[in-house]
Amino acid sequence: MELTRRNALAMGLGAAAMTVLPFRVHAATDDAIAAFTGGAVIAEGGVTLDAPEIAENGNTVPVSVSAEGASAILVLAAGNPTPGVAEFHFGELAGSSSASTRIRLAGTQDVVAIAKLADGSFARASKTVKVTIGGCGG
C-alpha cells in the first residue's frame, strides 16, 4: 500500500494522536455551570450519571442521567472544545427525571452532570471516560 501519513494513521493501532492526554477542563465548563446554577453551592451525590469507563467509540458515547424530582439536568463534556452537551428540563407531569443521549468525546475526559433538585438545590456527579486507541487485549 502507499505510504502516506493518512494511511499511517489508519493502519496503526488506530485513532488519532489527539487521544494521548486527558483533556484539560475547559474554562467554558465552569462558565456553563455558573450560568446553570447562578453560582449556588453544588453538593456531591443526588444525581446519577451512567457512562462507560472506556468508550467503545469516542464518536458516540452513551450517557444517562437521572435525579429524583429534579426539574433540570445539565450535561457537560468538560474536555471538549465546546463542553455543552445537553440541558434536560422536566415538567411536573414528567414520570421521572431521567434522560439518555449519546455524546462525542474528543479524548479522555470527565463527563459532568449537574441537577437542579426539587428543593432548588444543586447536585453534581462526574465520571472519567477514557478514549483509547485499543487493540492489544489478550
Binding site: 500500500m1 505510504l3 502516506t4 501519513r5 494511511n7 499511517a8 494513521l9 489508519a10 493502519m11 496503526g12 493501532l13 488506530g14 494522536a17 487521544t19 494521548v20 492526554l21 486527558p22 451512567d50 462507560p52 469507563e53 472506556i54 468508550a55 467503545e56 467509540n57 452513551p62 439518555s100 479522555t108 472519567t128 477514557k130 483509547t132 486507541i133 485499543g134 487493540g135 492489544c136 487485549g137 489478550g138
Partner: protein, 554 residues
C-alpha cells in the same frame, strides 16, 4: 460462618505437599474430599488448545495501585514463597516461572482436552450434578479452530457437556458466525454485559443468567463477557454489540436472582482478575466469581468481602474444582482445588481423544510440517517481551523490510523447549486470529510514542476498571524506558532505534510492520506466513531473550 473460616478450607496445601515429594499420580492430582452439596468445575481461556502443550507462566507480571505486590502479581520465587511451594516441585513447574526448560523436560506437557475430560468425569463420578462452566476464549487460537471457524472446539466442548459459557475472542469469528454457533449450543450462552449497540438494551441472543437446581440448591450463574471487546478487538467484526463492565446492571442481576430465590450466586467472568477483584468490592451478593481473561492460575481463592474469586489459568493447563456447602439459603463453606493437567500423569479419555483426532485429521499434514528448529525456549507470557514475540518481531522486520516491528501483547500461545522442532501448528498457536494481516506502514516517532503510552495505560492505569487485561505491545528494532507509576503521556522515554543507536525523532517517519490491527481494511500477508517464511530461512532459531525495555517503578 465467618469469612476467615470459609477461607481456611482450601484444598491446596495437600497437593502442594504431595507435589513437593515428587510422587505425583493421577489420584494425587484428582484426590478431593467431596464437600458440601454443590460442585463447580471451571475451565477458561483454553484458546483452542486441544492437545497437550508446554506453557511457561510469566516472570514479569506487575501489579499497580492497590494491586502492587498482591496476587496474581507475584511471579517466580515470590509466588512460590507466597504459597509455600518447593523449588523444583511439580507445583513450581505448573504454577510459576523459573527453570522452565529443565522442569518441562522432567514433568512433560500440560493440558489436552482429553485429559481435561478425565478430570471432569472423575468429579462427576463424585458429584454427578456438578456444574461445568466455561469462561470463554475457547473458540480461538489454533489452525484447526481458524480453518473450521471454531467448529472443532464447539464439537469437542459439546462432548464435555458444559452447563454455561461466557465470551471474548469468540466474537472475532464475526457476529453472524457467533450467532450461528450460539443458536446451536446445547448449553447457556451468558453475558449480563452483552448489549445491543444500537438500543443500549440487553442483547437477545445472550441471557444475563441461568438458574440451575443442584444438590437441592437453587444456583444462579450470571455471565460476564470481556468488557472491552470493541476496544481490544476489531469492533467492525461485531458492530451489533456493546459491552462494558456495567457493574450497576450486575448488581441489578444479583438482586433479581436473589429475589427469585437464588441460594448461591456464581459469576462466570471474563473480566480479568483485578477487574473481578474491584467488582467484588462494589457488587454485593456474589458468592463465587470464576475469573478468566488474564490467564492467572492461583492455587487458593482470593477473598473480597464475602466473595471468593477463583483463577483457573489458560490453554487447558488447569481445571478448578470448587465444592460448596449451601444451606439455609446461603453459602456456608468452600473447598477448592486448582488441578494442573499434567498430560503424562492424567490418562486421556479415549472417546475425547478420538473426537479430537477426528477434528484434526483433515489438517494433520499441514499441522505437523516442520519449519525449523529452536535452540531457545520460545514463550510469550510477561508484561514486556517474550521470545516468541521477539521471533515474530524479527520476522516482521526481516520479511517486511521494516525498521520497527509491533506485536500485540496478547497472553495466549504455548511454549516450545530448546531443541524442539517448530511445526506449522506451533506458529499458528501463537498467531492464529481472524485479523492476522501483517501491515507495513510509516509512523512518526510522535505517533509511536502515542501508541506506547496508550497501551501502557491500558495495563498500568492504577484503576483496574480502566485496564484491558493484555500485556504491553511488543516492540522489535526499538528500545525504550517505562516508568510504571507515571500518568499516561509521561511513562515512556528514551525511545531508541536499535539499528543505529539513535534516539527516535518525534517528527521523523519510520517504517513499521505489525499485525492484528483493529482497523477494517488492513492489508498485508498473514502473520503466520510471514513467521513461517522467516523460520524457514533461519533453519534454527536462536533468541537471546534480552529485553530492550528498561522498567522503573515496579
Amino acid at each position: 460462618m465467618a469469612a476467615a473460616a470459609l477461607y481456611g478450607s482450601s484444598g491446596f496445601g495437600n497437593w502442594a505437599r504431595l507435589a513437593a515429594q515428587q510422587r505425583l499420580t493421577q489420584d494425587d492430582l484428582l484426590g478431593f474430599d467431596t464437600y458440601g452439596n454443590v460442585s463447580l468445575i471451571h475451565v477458561t481461556d483454553i484458546h483452542a488448545q486441544l492437545k497437550p502443550i508446554y506453557f511457561r507462566e510469566p516472570s514479569i507480571n506487575i501489579g499497580v495501585g492497590g494491586n502492587k505486590g498482591e496476587v496474581p502479581h507475584l511471579t517466580g520465587a515470590d509466588f512460590r514463597a507466597r504459597y509455600g511451594i518447593a523449588d523444583g516441585s511439580p507445583s513450581h513447574y505448573a504454577l510459576s516461572s523459573g527453570d522452565f526448560a529443565a522442569l518441562a523436560a522432567e514433568y512433560g506437557r500440560v493440558g489436552g482436552l482429553d485429559r481435561v475430560a478425565t478430570v471432569i468425569n472423575h468429579i462427576r463420578a463424585d458429584r454427578p450434578d456438578a456444574l461445568l462452566l466455561d469462561g470463554g476464549d475457547t473458540w480461538h487460537g489454533s489452525m484447526t479452530c481458524y480453518k473450521t471457524a471454531g467448529q472443532d472446539m464447539v464439537n469437542v466442548m459439546n462432548a464435555l457437556k458444559p452447563d454455561a459459557m461466557t465470551f471474548h475472542w469468540e466474537f472475532t469469528l464475526g457476529s453472524d458466525r457467533v450467532a450461528e454457533i450460539v443458536e446451536s449450543l446445547p448449553f447457556a450462552a451468558l453475558g449480563q454485559n452483552i448489549f445491543d449497540a444500537e438500543w443500549d438494551e440487553p442483547a437477545e441472543l445472550f441471557k444475563p443468567y441461568k438458574f440451575f437446581e443442584r444438590g437441592g440448591v437453587k444456583v444462579a450463574v450470571i455471565g460476564q463477557a470481556f468488557p472491552y471487546m470493541p476496544i481490544a478487538n476489531p469492533r467492525w467484526m461485531f458492530p451489533e454489540y456493546s459491552f462494558g463492565i456495567r457493574d450497576e446492571n450486575m448488581q441489578a442481576m444479583v438482586d433479581e436472582v436473589r429475589d427469585a430465590g437464588a441460594e448461591l450466586v456464581v459469576v462466570l467472568s471474563h473480566n480479568g482478575f483485578d477487574v473481578d477483584k474491584k467488582m467484588a468490592g462494589i457488587v454485593t451478593g456474589i458468592d463465587v466469581i470464576l475469573s478468566g481473561h488474564t490467564h492467572d492460575a492461583l492455587p487458593e481463592p482470593v477473598q473480597v468481602g464475602q466473595t471468593f474469586i477463583i483463577a483457573s489459568g489458560s490453554n487447558g493447563k488447569f481445571v478448578s474444582r470448587v465444592d460448596l456447602d449451601v444451606r439455609e439459603g446461603k453459602m456456608q463453606g468452600i473447598r477448592h482445588k486448582l488441578i494442573p493437567i499434567f498430560s503424562d500423569v492424567i490418562a486421556p479419555d479415549a472417546t475425547i481423544t478420538q473426537l479430537i483426532d477426528a477434528e484434526r485429521a483433515p489438517y494433520a499434514a499441514e499441522l505437523s510440517e516442520v519449519l525449523g528448529q529452536t535452540d531457545s525456549l520460545l514463550y510469550r507470557r510477561g508484561n514486556f517481551n517474550g521470545t516468541w514475540d521477539d521471533l515474530i518481531c524479527d520476522a516482521l522486520m526481516s520479511e517486511r523490510e521494516a525498521q520497527i516491528a509491533m506485536s500485540p501483547g496478547v497472553r495466549w500461545g504455548p511454549s516450545l523447549l530448546p531443541g524442539d522442532s517448530i511445526t506449522r501448528e506451533d506458529v499458528w498457536n501463537v498467531t492464529s486470529m481472524s485479523y492476522g494481516e501483517a501491515y507495513r506502514t510509516e509512523m512518526t516517532g510522535e505517533f509511536i510514542k502515542v501508541i506506547l503510552e496508550d497501551v501502557a495505560d491500558n495495563i498500568f492505569n492504577p484503576d483496574p476498571y480502566y485496564q484491558q487485561g493484555g500485556d504491553m505491545v511488543r516492540i522489535g528494532g526499538m528500545g525504550f524506558a517505562i516508568d510504571i507509576n507515571k500518568p499516561q503521556g509521561e511513562r515512556i522515554s528514551k525511545m531508541t532505534l536499535l539499528s543505529t543507536g539513535e534516539e527516535i525523532d518525534a517528527a521523523k517517519s519510520y517504517v513499521v510492520a505489525g499485525w492484528a490491527s483493529v482497523n477494517e481494511g488492513t492489508e498485508g500477508p498473514m502473520i503466520w506466513d510471514v513467521v513461517e517464511s522467516h523460520i524457514r530461512k533461519l533453519g534454527t532459531v536462536t533468541i537471546s531473550g534480552d529485553s530492550n525495555v528498561t522498567v522503573t517503578g515496579a
